[in-house]
Symmetry: C2
Subunit: 258 residues, 2 copies
DNA sequence: CGTGATAAG
DNA sequence: CTTAACACG
């Protein structure tokens, strides 16, 4: 089973840049999209029909602000995933942040984690989100489920996960507070799969600022991740970053499970 | 002397579309620009230097709202025009509407007349503007000056001046009120030069809506005009509409004086 | 429909 | 630097 996550920075934008070609080539079984920034009905009708012919679509745009945030999860129809919008907490659900998709004892929890924003004005919101999400994951584990947590987490966990750690200790995505909160997911029993399999490999990034050719020079951040319950780790066949895929300031990431 | 007027719908935009090539080819002696929509300092430095090497530049952006309205008048340095920003009425001057340029007994009054706007919400403002401007022209005549009044007047004077008169009697630019107010300029002693020389020629337009290929089908309006004091009419050598010049939803117009 | 300001990232 | 909403025309 091939699981993918991609912050597309505007679904309508990425549609103009070959998203459908990528979708047909990558053939994900489950795909989480973040920053869709539109209603499903605002996307091209032909595209919608084509996607709906193969996938169960759970489209979860923000209701709080038009064109802002939002996430979606697509799963191949034959897999029979059940999709639920939100974690039941209005502050996050109004921004279309997380979708919980289940099949048997597997919970695929995916979406768009808050950005701490300029001046860290949203750091308190993001910290509460991390606490609530970690508790949510813990409850799933106690209920006997195995969890995949993925999406744009808007935090680089360690110094190795960004090109310029020293320059960014006070910046959104690499503050001590955000890194500390990231550990709550690990303490809830999840493993950062790609880093687990590549402990010392530097230069593995999933996001590059659009300013000044950062992507060409690979001055990036690894902020899009797959975390998996420890009990799932023996099923992991592959974890990859698809840095060659253009169309957004993020690139897709994937996890292949046996 | 070749006088030009052009609503450029964003000076920075038209710069990207060959404005400087046009300027060098047209070689205007005096040029009024409308809807400049930027500060002089926001335009490309090379462009500014090139223009300033040949022209006295009177740049008159709106102070009331960034990126809104504004006008400019350029005159060849060797002509020695004196430029004055505004008519001394704050409501118009804050929007960078009119520039008064004088040389000897000639007053070149040029700029961006108000748009009545959707729902005609600005019709009262536009009517007062017309009264004030007509009075301003009258005062110039009584002071012994000859007047050229030009710019985007945002009104089609007669049915012949737009492709769809019947459809637009309630729309901004062709209401009975705006057409009535236009006559104030004529009553102040000015002549609509192009119409005076081409009384029955239809299809002479200077603006086309960007929606639905109106320009290609020449479904337009003549709302950019040169009006001249009757005493100047014997000096008129030519009055033209340059509909082939692209780069804005308006095209340039010109008046050649002996 | 296009230009430009703005919010957000 | 880029996406999308918005104001204005």
């Amino acid at each position: 089973m091939k699981l993918y996550s991609w912050n597309v920075n505007g679904f309508r934008s990425v549609l103009k840049k070959g998203f459908m070609d990528w979708l047909e080539a990558a053939e994900p079984d489950v795909l989480s999209l973040q920053e869709i920034r539109c209603e499903w009905e605002e996307a091209d009708l032909g595209v919608r029909r084509q996607i709906e012919s193969a996938y169960d679509v759970c489209w979860f745009p923000a209701t709080s602000k038009k064109g802002y945030a939002g996430s979606a999860t697509l799963s191949r129809k034959e897999l029979g995933f059940t999709h639920a919008k939100g974690m039941g907490i209005e502050a996050y659900d109004a921004e279309g942040r997380m979708i919980v998709s289940t099949k048997g004892d597997l919970a695929f929890i995916a979406g768009y984690f808050p950005n701490a924003s300029q001046g860290l004005v949203r750091l308190p919101f993001k910290r509460q989100f991390a606490r609530d999400l970690a508790a949510f994951v813990g409850a799933r584990h106690r209920a006997g489920q195995k969890v995949i947590l993925t999406g744009d987490m808007n935090v680089a966990p360690e110094e190795i996960d960004l090109a310029r750690p020293k320059d960014n200790v006070k910046n959104p995505g690499f503050t001590p507070e955000e890194r500390e909160d990231f550990k709550l997911y690990l303490e809830a029993g999840l493993v950062d799969v790609l880093r687990d399999r590549n402990p010392d490999v530097a230069g593995l990034y999933t996001w590059w600022t659009a300013r000044g050719g950062a992507r060409e020079r690979n001055v990036g951040w690894r902020i899009d991740l797959f975390l998996a319950s420890r009990s799932l780790m023996d099923r992991v066949k592959d974890a990859r970053i698809h840095a060659d895929v253009l169309g957004s300031d993020h690139c897709p990431i994937s996890l292949e499970l046996a």
